[in-house]
């Protein structure tokens, strides 16, 4: 799992929780570094902020989907507009969550994504 958010607290808190849930987590504050990492490694789940310096969430989504069409990308954003959400889904986002969100909310989405990944690989 990859978590990208230029708010360091988000990465810190989320990674801690998801690691406790048993996921392997990498956090990035710099989206550009994350994009580079995407070239080298395949992630199953990506949680990314939308509005970031240099490379924004939509670009991360595009890069990830291009690399791995089955990737589950969850977008979290401080200000979500309908058009941005639509664009994200059109480009293959798995979910679109607006900040502030409850950890449980995100956890449900991640579980759903994980289930889909498992079904796909077993079926």
């Amino acid at each position: 799992m990859m978590i990208i958010d230029d708010e360091p607290i988000v990465g810190r808190r989320l990674s801690r929780m998801f690691e406790r849930d048993g996921y392997e987590v990498e956090t990035f504050i710099d989206s550009e570094a994350a994009a580079r990492e995407l070239e080298n490694r395949t992630y199953e789940i990506i949680i990314t902020d939308l509005k970031m310096q240099n490379v924004d969430g939509i670009r991360i989504l595009e890069t990830a989907v291009e690399k791995n069409p089955d990737v589950k990308v969850i977008i979290i954003t401080g200000f979500g507009r309908k058009e941005t959400a639509k664009e994200a889904f059109r480009k293959g986002a798995f979910a679109f969550i607006i900040k502030p969100f409850r950890f449980e909310e995100l956890r449900q989405v991640i579980r759903k994504a994980e289930k889909e990944i498992r079904n796909f690989s077993s079926g």
Partner: protein, 576 residues
Amino acid sequence: MTGEFMQLKIWHKMIIGISIPALLTLIGGLWSYKYINDVKKRHSYVQIADDLKEDVLEVRRNEKNYLNYRDHEHFKQVLASITVLTRSIKMISPATIDEIGKDEFLLLNRTSTNYSTVMEKLHAHFHQEKQSIEKVREEGRRLETFAATGEHKVGLSTNFILNLRRLEKNYMLFRDRDSFTQLDNALSQLKGMVESCYDCMPYVEAIRDLFASYEKSDSGIGELQISGNTLEEITDRIARRERQHIETFFTITQRFTLIALILLCTLGPMLVYGTASYIVAPIIRLTEITKKIAEGDLSLRAPIKEHDETFTLAVSFNTMLDHLQLSHKSLEKSMELLREKQEEVEKCASVGLLVSGVAHEMNNPLNNISLTAETMKEEMDVLSHGELNECLQDILNQSDRAKRVVENLLNYVGARKSSAVERLDINSVVNESVNLITNELMVTNIHLNKNIPYTPLYVKGDHNKLEEILVNIMVNAIHALKDADPGVLSVSISHEQADGQVLISIGDNGHGIPESDLKNIFEPFFTTKPTGLGTGLGLPVARKLAREHYGEIEVESKEGEGTTFKIRLPVYEENV
């Protein structure tokens, strides 16, 4: 005249302009035709006069022959040539006679008739003269015979008679006064010699007759010659006069052609130019006005003083202008409304932008707080003291961040309008602002390059707000100089007297602003700084505050070389 002329329409002016030269040319053409005809006629008159003269000369030639031979044959020739002359005269048409001169022909006719009469008379005289000569010779011979017989008295010698006959012959030969005097003297002697010589008498009588005949025929010849001369003179005069006519004609033609040529060369272009400009003048007047109107003065109107087609044009044009002016006014009104609307829309848009920015800026710290709180809640038991402390600090920091966002927002919106406008020395305001960041400069190891004049330079404004502008921009510069070595912050003030403005330049040699971002830096919530460092409201607030002071902020930047902000504020003037 001009008044009437002004009423003409262009159409009529053109017709007149074309017809006058055309008419003049036509008249000139007709006149030339008639003129050439006249010349031709005159030329024929010269021919006629020459012919008449020829005839007269023929008559005179025959007359001379006749006077030489004095016979019937030559007499007939003279008469024939006279007939030729009279026939020639008769063949001339009355119109021609009128043209050349009736009097001349009257005289010519009379003279030729007279000539014939004199001729016939002369011929009769010549006949009589011949008879007289015959008679003299006969009587002479008889006198000779009479003298030879000697039956007369003394003194009448044969010699004397012979001498008498010689004198008689001389007289007949010379027919002059001398020989007549000699003969007359001899006859007087004869009378003296024989007192009543009956035989001598017939001779004397015959001589007397001869003398009379001679006198008559001589006077006849004179008369004839006078008449002939007159004929010659008349025809000569006619011919000369007709020639003179033609000469005059040619001279006139030459002069006329020259004058026409000069007029054509001088008046022609003037006339054409005059007519053309006269026709075009109203159009030009209209054009000039329309040009002025086209340059933007819609209040002008075309003059409506012409009476030709341009009148309608000017009226239509003015009506069009009225409409145009009305539409222009309503357009301006619409534009005004549109501008107002646009301002409103822009306000709305910026409100929208503001809201989305605020949402983003608020939601992030909120999200951080909520995530931290959740962590604490879920991990309450597991968290170490240190971790717990870290979480609590995060929550406090994020609340502060949210507070700052709201503060800046309020600043931007201008809710805290505690402004105190006063006369301020901008130099000291800048100095104080620089003092506020001195600590920061020291910590970040940035060199300050300050160029602030000592003479006070006054502006009108709020001390705090001006300070905020300056600090905002200087803090931005410090952020930009994070990686510069050595970082230099330059602050300078100059008085731009021409514009009555103070120019405060704040420059750095930092990383600069990419060109694509330059246009956005004054937009609210646009920030390129790492999260938490900037709210995206610093520059928008600075600009808003500068504009409140009737000033402006501009930015010049080159990536990798640095950025300079230029703040312009109007200089405070006592009398303004």
